[in-house]
Amino acid sequence: MARNGVVSMHWRSEKIDGFDLSPPDDEQVHVLAVDDSLVDRKVIERLLKISCCKVTAVDSGIRALQFLGLDEEKSSSVGFDDLKVDLIITDYCMPGMTGYELLKKIKESSTFREIPVVIMSSENVMARIDRCLEEGAEDFIVKPVKLSDVKRLRDYMTAREFRVKNQQIGNNNNIKNNNKRRLSARRNIWNGIVFVDDLLGMFA
């Protein structure tokens, strides 16, 4: 649902420095989608847009880091406030930097480690899922990604935003809770989606 007068964040990964920024919209979730497959990028972009998310889609982990300004060599010229990314969704299998490596880099960054990272993969491999969750991934979606997957993420993001805005607890507690949640993640694969059990407990 596009709002009149808002320029959509429509940019191609090659032109990282020259894209139009719409005025920051607190209501909309901004998702950074990372996938080397053009077909999958188109689909995930559409899935997210139709679920009322702002989307920035890039074709590699390196570009994702550049966008976030985590790449030492070439950082985005845009101020960080406008770049507020609420969720990162990345493919696992990518040439160069894998989604797992990207996940690690994001969790190592003090600026961005709190951003939830969701991993997508066409392979339903327990070891892979475990590894990602242990490294701090919020969720793991088996491809092909469906509207129901995105809607679920969207609802989680809305609840999370609400929680972040209203909680008085400091960051330390967040990290403690995150670790608790990850360790007790229920490895329940239902239609390829892993449900992170304690996640729901956080909004009680």
Binding site: L38, V39, D40, L47, K143, P144, V145, L147
Partner: protein, 156 residues
Amino acid sequence: MLGLGADRLRADMNRLLALLFHQGVLDEQFLQLQQLQDESSPNFVSEVVNIYFHESEKLLRNLRGLLMDRECSDYKKMGIHLNQFIGSSSSIGAKRVRNVCVAFRAASEQNNRAGCLRALELLEHEYCYLKNKLHELFQLEQQRLLAAGVRYPMQN
């Protein structure tokens, strides 16, 4: 009379889709793509499918090139191409193409040249069939829009 044309075309489209589902050529992911098409993105399905065709043909050329190299078939590279092909096929709901790719990948993992050649032939056949049928589907859709559009105003 024009309305009747649009309805008939819609029926033809549904019949073709039902056939493709029945044959296992397409699966529910294709329906998912259709759900993502609306007034704000009226050509979404054909756009994605055309990207898929473009990429698939590149992959098929690469696979054939790799297999034709009798000296040293790079099975690992074949595997990488096949992974891409499997991924994109699954994303658009091209079930049969995807399944042939999976079998092809298994043959490449065993360095089984004969098996790979057979799989490639089957893959090219399945891909051609899929492409023809989807083109047919899109043509019917275009005709239906034309037929419906003459009767109803397009703009809002």
